[in-house]
Every structure is written in C-alpha cells, then in structure tokens.
Symmetry: C5
Subunit: 158 residues, 5 copies
Amino acid sequence: MDLIAIVDTMFARVNMGDYAVDELKQCPGFESTFLIKRVTVPGFKDLAVECKRLIEFYNAKIALALGMPGKAEIDQVCAHEASQGIMMAQLLSNTHILEVFVHENEAQTDADLITLVENRVRKHALNAYWMLYEPKQLLTRAGQGVRQGFDDAGPAQT
Amino acid sequence: MDLIAIVDTMFARVNMGDYAVDELKQCPGFESTFLIKRVTVPGFKDLAVECKRLIEFYNAKIALALGMPGKAEIDQVCAHEASQGIMMAQLLSNTHILEVFVHENEAQTDADLITLVENRVRKHALNAYWMLYEPKQLLTRAGQGVRQGFDDAGPAQT
Amino acid sequence: MDLIAIVDTMFARVNMGDYAVDELKQCPGFESTFLIKRVTVPGFKDLAVECKRLIEFYNAKIALALGMPGKAEIDQVCAHEASQGIMMAQLLSNTHILEVFVHENEAQTDADLITLVENRVRKHALNAYWMLYEPKQLLTRAGQGVRQGFDDAGPAQT
Amino acid sequence: MDLIAIVDTMFARVNMGDYAVDELKQCPGFESTFLIKRVTVPGFKDLAVECKRLIEFYNAKIALALGMPGKAEIDQVCAHEASQGIMMAQLLSNTHILEVFVHENEAQTDADLITLVENRVRKHALNAYWMLYEPKQLLTRAGQGVRQGFDDAGPAQT
Amino acid sequence: MDLIAIVDTMFARVNMGDYAVDELKQCPGFESTFLIKRVTVPGFKDLAVECKRLIEFYNAKIALALGMPGKAEIDQVCAHEASQGIMMAQLLSNTHILEVFVHENEAQTDADLITLVENRVRKHALNAYWMLYEPKQLLTRAGQGVRQGFDDAGPAQT
C-alpha cells in the first residue's frame, strides 16, 4: 500500500488539508492502492522538513505541502525560504513534493480566498495522484497552459 | 529521556532563551519525559549549526532557534541567510527546528519588544512541545489563522 | 544504450518537449547509441527533482529541463527557485541538466513565442547531444557569444 | 592539541588575519591547549571552502572567516553568496565558522576602517575561544545586545 | 601529476579559456608537476557541475570557472544562480573553484572588455597556481586590497 503525505499549517486561514484529503479520497485506489497521512505544522517554513520526514520515515511516495503566505512584505521573503526548503527536500529525498501555496493577497475577499484555495488544492491533489498512477494525463497536457486556482491560460495560438 | 534544544544569542536585546526554558518547564513531562539543553551563540547566523550540533551530537528531538534581527537594512539580508541555514539544518538532520525571530522593528518601544518576544517565544515553545507529544493540538488548529507574538488572524469567514 | 531525459510542464503554453524530442531524433545515434525518455510535470518547480529521478533511477546521462515562467512578478521568484533547484540537482547527481527556460514576456505575440521556444529548445537539445558525444563542437565555439533563441551576440571585436 | 583556523583574503584592505592571530595568542591555552592555522585566499567567496578544508582535512575545531566586501553594488550580492557558502560549510561540517565581515562602506575613513576591523576581529576571535572553552561567557550575555565592531546595543529596558 | 581544470563557455564574447591556458603554461611545473584539462560548456550556469565533474571524475586539484554575464537584468539573476552553484560545488567537493566572471557591462567597448578579461583571467590563473604550490604568495598579500581585472585598491592608510 502506498502512502500520500499531506502537510498543512495552523497559520493558513483556510483548512487546506481537508480539501486535499477529500479530493484524494475520491480517486481510484484509495484504501486499496494508497493511504493518506496528514500532519499539521505551525507555519509554512515547517512544511519542508515535515514532508521529508514523512517520505523518509513513513515511506510516502509523494507529498503535498500546503501553505498560505500572509500579506506582509516579510511574508514574501519567508515564502521564498519555505519554497527553497521544499525544493531542497525534494532533491535530497528524490521524491516529488507539490508546493501548493495560496498567497493571501491573491484574493480580495475571504469568500474568494476560500474558493481559490479549494480549486488549487484539489487540482494539485489530483496532479499528485496522476504523477503516481496516471502519468499520461500529464503528458497529454504538456504545453497546454494548465493552471491551478485560476482558469487555464491555454496554449499559445498560431 | 528526550532532549529539547534551545539556542539563543548575545546579539538579541531580550533574553529569549529564558522565556523558552520557563515555558517548557511548565509542560507535562519535564524532567520525566524530556530535558532541556540551552546554548547561547554570538548572533543569529550561528543558530543553525548549533541547533544541528545539538540534534546530531546530543540527540535533541526538536530545537528552538531564537534570534532578533536588528533594524539596519543589512540585518534583513543576514536574517534571510540565517533562515536559509535553519531550513537547511532541518533538512539535513530530518528534525524540526522552530525559527523564532523577532525583528527589532516589529515593536515601537522596548516595553513592546519585550512583550512581543515573550508571547512569541512562549507560543513556539508550546508548539515544539505539541509537535513532539500532542500533534492533535496542531491538527485541530489547521487553517485557523494562528499567529505567534500578535493576535491570531483567525480563519477566513464564509 | 545511453538515455537522454526530457522533462517539460503542463504550465508552459507551448509543447516544449515535442521540439526537444524531434531535434534529438535527428541526431546521429538515435536508437543505436541513445534513447529518449520524456516526462511531463505540472510546473517548472517540479522539473529539478524529476530530472534527478531520471538521472538516478533511470541512469540518464544528461537532461533537458524545459519550462516557461509566466508574466507575473511572483513568477520571477518562482523561476529563481526552480533554477536553484536545477543547479542543486546537477551538483548532487554530477550530471548536466540544461535549463531551457523561455520567459513568456520575452515575446510580444503568441507566434513569436512559439518561434522563440522552438529555436531555443532545438539549440539546447543539440547542445546536450554535443556535450555527450561531440564536446569539440563546444570547444571550438568558446567565447563566440553563442545564444539560444535569439541571434548570436558574436565575439567581441578588437 | 586543538586547532583554530583563521582564513582571510588578499582582497581586504586591512590585514584582518593578523588581529585574529594576535588576539588568540593572548588567550589561555595557546600552544598548550590549542594551536592556530592561518591561510589567505584571494577573495571572500573563497573563504567558505577553505574553512571547510581546514575543518575536515586538518581537524580544526572552529574557524574564523574574515572578509571585507567592497563598496560596489555587485559586492553586496557577492557578500550574500559568500555568507551562504559559510553557512553551508558549517552545516555540512557540523562546526562553527564565525563570519567576520567588515563592509568597506561601514567606515568613512581609512583610519575608522582599521579601528572597526581591529575591534570586530578581536571580539569575534574571543567569541571563538569562548565557544570552545568557556561557553558560560556567552550564556551570561544572552539577550544583552552584544555587538562586535561598534558599541553594544544593550538589553531592552523595561 | 596534478590536474588543473579550466571551464569556459560558448556564451562569453571573449575566449576566456585561452588566456587561462596560456598563463598556466608559463607557470613552473607545467607538464612536470601539473597538467591542464579544459572543457567548454554552453553557458555560465553549466560551469559549476562541469567543474565538479572534473574534480570528482578526473581528480582535478583546483578549477577555474570562467563566465561572462550579459547586460540584461535577467542575466544578473542568472549570474547569482551560477555563483551559488559554484559555491556549492566547492563545498561538496572540498576543492577550490575560482569564479572568474567578467560582467559585460563592466567595460564600455569591446576593446576594453578584452583587456579586462585577459587581466582578470591571467591573475586568477596565477592565483590558482599559487594556492596549489606557493600559498605564501597569498599570505604575504593578506589585506593588501588586491584586485583582478582592475588596479589594486591597496591597503587602508593609517
């Protein structure tokens, strides 16, 4: 049985992990091919090492790192550090960790923020599933301007 | 017996380590389940390797890295480097190191600075305890907009 | 038989991988000296670890990492993180990974974007081939102001 | 017999290594408990690997990395890269390397520059000695706003 | 017999490797104490891993990484990434790699650019030789404000 790791934060203002769990439970093979392990950490700088721990100590095959950088300028620097950590965690563990960040200032209202989070998290949860079990889903979408959270940009038109 | 590492600096203008020690001494299991080891280094760029040394040479299960970036512009670059080091130390040791930085310019007065430091350090010391012994405390707060040092932002309202 | 890895993204608005595959298929030794393995990942931050996986798990001798940073300011930070990841992946695996990024804002129109992508991808695919099998092609072009995607800058004139 | 490493540069405009050597020679235990090994490299980007070589090939217990970033804007980027290297060298070797940088633009005149260098280098040489042999000296100064090169900021006043 | 590695690029507008080869051929011990291995890569982001490969697969004792960042703003970010890679390559291989970058915008004319390149490359080639065989040449120049490419800044005057 494979394990898919989901790590989110207390800092985020939306329960990001719940959407990821819900999406993956609807994928074929849940509880027969793969299980889910979810952990919550304080903030997004704690995501990288938690994902790496779940990969290396629990043998997770892929991880979702869910975070929500705040509006302050310092939050952007922290988000950069958090991202660099997730990158390094992947390279040291030879395992994909999908970084799913929703910057709080991407949405104008709380309602928009919730909608954006749900869309982005669900799409990346599905991406994680595809990467493990249906890589052709990604291959057939190569260069198609696919986005998560907002509408697809679509392919360049000749 | 587990070990929790606390590292702070001579550079900071508030004794950050004392608050962390005091908070952890009030947690269940002090001196029965876990002990504390505290070290002081010159400045915040020395925190990362000291935490990693305490993890790898003393078998610390988690570490608190306590620092106070100054007001100068160069201090922001140094804080970024210190943070990247703490991130790398975590990933190389597969152990959480909670970065607890209070930027001196987050407070207007010395009194506010002390209040801010105490609040943030105590909350992160408790987070460290929860991560080791009560991870459900974090899980139930997922996406709740939890902050340390200032009031919680709270969850987005539908 | 050697393996050359090609990794591109769903995020890009042009099918970058197709050009790389097509160029390499025209090189001497295709299917006798080397084969191609192509994988598509969600976005450019996923390129580094996928290249490293193909190098370390499939023994790829060189990799092409094909990505297209978008126009937003945040995309520039992400591109920087993606590039740092590709750099680290190379150093940890002791293998060249040619970073082939086309920033969407390098072209004014979709038609120009497609032309730019094709040119840059094909030239770097040929570079990858040369690095493996004809290093003298590179040596004889040392200091010649060679570019990919746009016209060569040419050597400084005395 | 322990070894303390001192690395400085030809680039700096003050002989930083001489001050470090002089300070350490006055510490208790010189030539009975510890010896000094000093190396000069071209510029500050060469400090990190030289310190790491002295730690790993000569078993140095701690290192001082002495550098002087110039006034140009590009020098600030280089200083950042040099600092990141010193951070990484520490984490890979599990050994403290005290970064002692004096930015040329911290002083208005050559005379001030020399005074600043001497003060900062001597204080950090003493810090290195304390870290190895008298860690309580640091612990009793926790949160005291200690500075090197300029006057101490002092602790926040209640 | 030792090996000194020289790596340059097709991207540069001056044949940087030729100057390095020429300078080293004039050093004592060429072909009796040390040999040269030169490789050309596409651009400066490819320098780090090539140097590391020459160190680890060919046992090079030191390397020169020769690159020329272009004038565009994006080139500065790329140069930063290339430099970070060279730093990491050194730390992972415990071997010096002298970064010899000439930014195209350091010179006003092609003729000045060529002069600058020749001076900087030759001086760093000599530095590499000194670091291996005559470290006292560097020690006696500690803190002397030595520069490569332009005139020495000289030591601070009391």
